[in-house]
Amino acid sequence: DGQYPPGKPNITKCRSPDKETFSCWWQPGSDGGLPTNYSLLYTTERKTTVSECPDYKTSGPNSCFFDKSHTSIWTSYIITVNATNAMGSNISDTEIFDVFHIVELHPPTNVSLAIIDDPPHLLVKWSPPPSVDVKSGWVTIEYEVQLKLEKGQKWETLKAGTHTQLKVFGFHPGENYVVQVRCKPDHGFWSLWSSESYIQIPDRFWRKDM
């Protein structure tokens, strides 16, 4: 009659934007042709009991959000997702992590481009992602800048260390460039690239001594 126990769900990602909260997302398996219910269960290295997800809403469908009161930086989290329907249930692989190691920040903001005349270079500036308390040294962030000719295909990636600006020398006068910036905390993942910023390099920059 085409009705089966649910397929095995798969925890696809757990991320924290600020080491103070975090979320996990999962990909449901097949629903076996029946209404299927998903529950995320977790424990920690120091808990003796298993608890259920505190908030299935905040981070969207097939997700679980752990707010500040449910987030501890002092312990590992052990997480599984359980799918259940009338014909049975199926449990995901176990995901184990430590909040410090799943940080993925929002992209940098306020990306600005400026042409500097002497010496001729392009100055790229940006701000850290919102809601990150950088000044306390609580989160140290690294940046990367990528740029390419607007008409070109090949991106060039430049490291910017922990600085929030970078000077780019040696560009083509008269051309349009596209620039993006991304960031990564000391132990975490690269953010998405910031939205594209555009600039035209004035013709006056043909090097006089070339």
Binding site: R46, S72, W74, S76, I78, T94, I96, D98, S136
Partner: protein
């Protein structure tokens, strides 16, 4: 299941815990310095509070190391327990600070925000230190109640100068004790944790 980052039985390593504790203690002292300076500039100028606040900290009865030699001679278990005792002894005063700072005339939002943040992060650090001590010496986590602090004045102080001095003194002692905790943890991290480059 595979443990992340080669962790042993999926536990966060003790040196990672220490690294986080030091980041937190550094942050707490930075905030404590900022809140003291802001309060001093705004409310204490010309009132002679600094002279009155000598030898008035509720934690001065705790026999804490006063210089490098003493800090390095004391056994690290004793130093760890001292850190716990100092942290616990600030639980009530910080609660009082947060509730009272809201009644200070025109207290800038930054002073209130910092008081709340210090209270929150100090609880976080205490949780972490208890975790570390539990790791190093399972079962040895004493939890004696520390009420070294004599508590808020019995009778609400009508006189503003006295009330402001009570605050000044609390912030003066918080700045000092948070620096002690930060310094002790940085010393402990280097002496206890192999493989950490100091």
């Amino acid at each position: 299941p595979i443990c992340p980052n080669g962790a042993v039985n999926c536990q966060i390593s003790t040196s990672d815990l220490f690294e986080r504790a030091v980041q937190l203690s550094h942050y707490i002292h930075s905030l404590s310095s900022q809140i003291f300076n802001e309060f001093d500039e705004q409310y204490a100028q010309g009132r002679g509070f600094i002279m009155k606040s000598i030898n008035t900290c509720h934690t001065s009865s705790l026999n804490t190391p006063e210089d490098k030699e003493q800090a390095q001679q004391i056994h690290h278990d004793d130093l760890l327990n001292l850190v716990l005792r100092v942290l616990r002894s600030w639980n009530d005063p910080l609660g009082h600070l947060v509730s009272e700072v809201q009644d200070i005339k025109e207290a800038p939002g930054t002073i209130l925000w910092k008081a709340v943040e210090i209270e929150e992060q100090t609880k976080q650090l205490l949780e972490g230190m208890e975790n570390i001590v539990q790791r190093i010496h399972p079962g040895e986590l004493g939890n004696e109640v520390y009420s070294l602090w004599s508590g808020p004045p019995a009778v609400p102080m009508a006189d503003e100068n006295t009330r402001l001095f009570a605050f000044y003194n609390l912030l003066h002692c918080l700045r000092r004790d948070s620096h002690k905790i930060d310094n002790y943890l940085k010393v402990l991290k280097c002496s206890l944790m192999q493989g950490i480059s100091c």
